[in-house]
């Protein structure tokens, strides 16, 4: 065969297909990761009320609605020129930490975990969360289910619903929490820290304890040397809710550091005709194609990138794990795509510790969680780290607060170029002349994108419109008489 199709890709959010082309020698000539879906948020949100944006954009993704909800809410603060009261800011970050911990848990155990716990060669029907539960036993599975349940129940307690909360407003949030609720959140937070440590131990045992996986992680087939992007606080430590955006080059030196409102000077997107998703790249470096290296504007914005781009973690246990990870993998920066799973668990621990920190602060249960805006709205940018990458919402409105324009650069979109490159490289390293292409081998190709925890619903918020039309009129001799194009 000279063409292999993987359709659809599975255990991620969203739609994708992979087309692998083989040359006559049986080597992989090229592999394309196509994203065949889009919906059009950047256009159909125009004409809507600004305050609806947290509730409209969180339907970009039902796995990470809280990320969009929060970016949108921060954009509304900027749009209406209003600052939330300190209690609201803390409560928002607490909510966000709970979400981050829950989402990372979902990804590790339900989406990518099966590749490690069951293994890529396990029968297809067992390579999923159900297989994982059977294999690890109800004790372990019970902890995972409890973590997700507790996380979602707290998200519902604070924000209204487990999925698609309805909570963010310019100048604050719609409701605060009671002292009683704060205590519950604090107790669950301590359990979350234990769960995160347990997950890191599981990773040690199941993944790092398996030489085949360690080899896979460090193999060249799953390695890309690109720029790394993440949000950092004033001490250059990872922060999910707010901060400056920091970009490091493939050798680990700071290349750029900017305020999110300046994103247009640093990030640019490219269109290809074979996919609906655009490819962002660093504007000041330029687009050189789907290639690695310091001269290529391709960058990653993943948990691993965030850790690479920062100088450390802001909480003690996560900081220990951060140091241990880099010591094990040979220092910073680490460019092994599969190490993203490890970085994700370090972030899970940080999110849980941050959750406990914020829930321990009594101010978070203050009733003053909103101020009313006084200024007329015009333009605003809101940025957070989504679990899958840096998320930017940019709105313009008229005086009444009716949206006139929207621009979004979404978590996974940042990673489209590296995902495409990772899939191609994995395919090239795994498939050669004479290789029997098994279903397990194709799963190893899919593992290359799963590490990014992609969310193609997020990525493809936008929609193309017109179908192009080309008409060539030939006479009876086949000569071109006229050529018409509608672009």
């Amino acid at each position: 065969m000279n063409r292999i199709t993987i359709d659809p890709v599975t255990r991620l959010e969203g739609h994708g297909k992979i087309e692998i082309f083989l040359d006559p020698e049986g080597e992989v000539q090229n592999a394309y990761f196509q994203v065949p879906e889009l919906r059009g948020f950047e256009r159909f949100c125009v004409g809507r009320l600004a305050e609806e944006m947290p509730n409209l954009t969180d339907r970009i993704c039902g796995v990470c609605p809280e990320a969009h909800h929060m970016a949108a809410t921060k954009a509304l603060d900027a749009l209406f020129h209003v600052d939330p009261p300190p209690a609201a800011r803390k409560l928002r970050e607490l909510f966000y930490s709970i979400f981050f911990a829950t989402d990372h848990t979902t990804h590790f155990y339900a989406l990518s975990g099966p590749d490690f716990v069951m293994g890529p060669d396990a029968p297809k029907a067992e390579r999923n969360i159900l297989g994982v539960i059977k294999k690890v036993g109800m004790d372990v599975a019970g902890r995972v289910l409890k973590m997700r349940k507790d996380g979602h129940d707290l998200i519902a307690m604070i924000g209204g619903r487990r999925v698609q909360p309805n909570w963010g407003l310019p100048g604050g949030v719609s409701r605060g929490i009671t002292e009683d609720e704060r205590q519950q959140i604090l107790e669950r937070g301590k359990e979350a820290v234990e769960f995160a440590r347990f997950s890191l131990k599981l990773f040690d045992d199941v993944v790092l304890g398996n030489p085949a996986y360690v080899e896979m992680i460090q193999s060249d087939g799953y390695t890309h040397r690109t720029y790394d992007m993440g949000t950092v606080d004033e001490k250059n430590r990872v922060n999910f809710y707010d901060g400056m955006i920091r970009v490091k080059d493939p050798e680990g030196r700071e290349a750029f550091k900017y305020h999110p409102k300046d994103y247009l000077q640093y990030v640019e997107e490219r269109v290809e005709p074979w996919t609906y998703l655009k490819f962002p790249y660093l504007k000041k470096v330029g687009w050189k194609g789907l290639v690695d290296g310091k001269d290529s504007g391709v960058y990653k914005a993943t948990p691993l990138s965030r850790l690479n781009a920062a100088e450390g973690m802001a909480t003690p246990l996560a900081q220990e794990e951060y140091e241990r990870m880099y010591a094990t993998l040979g220092g910073k920066p680490v460019h092994h795509t599969l190490a993203t799973h490890w970085a994700r668990l370090v972030e899970l621990l940080y999110a849980a510790e941050r959750w406990v920190e914020l829930a321990s602060d009594p101010e978070v249960a203050s009733p003053t969680v909103r101020v009313l805006p006084k200024a007329k709205p015009d333009e605003g940018i809101g940025c957070v780290e989504a679990p899958r990458g840096t998320l930017t919402h940019h709105y313009w409105t008229d005086e009444r607060g009716v949206v006139t324009r929207v621009n979004l650069v979404v978590g996974t979109t940042n990673n489209y170029a590296p995902i495409a490159m990772s899939v191609k490289k994995a395919a090239q390293s795994l498939i050669h002349k004479g290789t029997v292409v098994t279903e397990g081998l194709l799963d190893r190709v899919e593992m290359a994108f799963r590490a990014y925890d992609p969310c193609f619903g997020c990525a493809t918020h936008s929609l193309p419109g017109q179908m192009p039309l080309e008409v060539t009129v030939r006479d009876a001799r086949g000569e071109v008489v006229e050529h018409l194009e509608r672009a």
């Binding site: 199709t5 029997v436 292409v437 098994t438 279903e439 397990g440 509608r486």
Partner: protein, 181 residues
């Protein structure tokens, strides 16, 4: 691309107007026009209800969605409703509905609220005739055509399908079964 003088099947355009008339005032006005031989255009199809307040906005939308070019809602003058205050609700519903229809791109003249007391046969007839001409000038609405895929897409799809057929079988190939040791 609407030809205002002809409908989709190339017949000269005669507007189809659906009228929701209340039993106590406007329907009697229509009756009066009839018995007094006051001509009004046959384009209106009248549906009698007990009160203009009975008109659910969904009736108006359904009429438009099913092919009506316009809808008239007629009732008693405010203050004269047989059921006392229901036509005030008609006013409020109608204003909200018009606001929504305008946002959806339905022209203002296609949906009209008309008060007419039982004695105002001439007034109602004039209003009907006026509405018919305004809608005639706008052309057919043919709302179901708005959600049909078209605009070259069918043609392009046919082109792409033909090209695929020329190139050969579709590219889905079965992956061989896993080799067991």
């Amino acid at each position: 691309m609407t030809d205002h003088a002809h409908d989709h099947h190339d017949h000269p355009f005669e507007p189809k107007i659906v009228g929701f008339l209340c039993n106590w005032c406007s329907y009697r006005a229509a009756d009066l026009a009839g018995t007094a031989r006051i001509k009004y255009k046959p384009n209106i199809r009248v549906i009698r209800l007990m009160c203009s307040g009975r008109v659910d906005p969904a009736f108006v939308l359904k009429a438009l969605a099913r092919g009506a070019d316009g809808v008239m809602v007629a009732g008693c003058h405010p203050g004269e409703c047989h059921y006392l205050v229901q036509n005030y609700k008609t006013i409020r519903r109608f204003q909200l509905l018009k606001h929504t229809l305008a946002a959806l791109g339905v022209e203002d003249a296609r949906v009209r609220l008309q008060w007419a007391s039982a004695a105002e046969g001439q007034l109602l007839a004039d209003a009907i005739n006026d509405m018919v001409e305004k809608v005639r000038a706008l052309g057919p609405l043919e709302w179901p055509h708005k959600w049909r895929e078209g605009n070259g897409l069918d043609r392009l799809e046919a082109e792409v399908t033909a090209e695929d057929a020329r190139l050969g079988p579709p590219h889905r190939e079965a992956v061989p079964e896993e080799v067991r040791p």
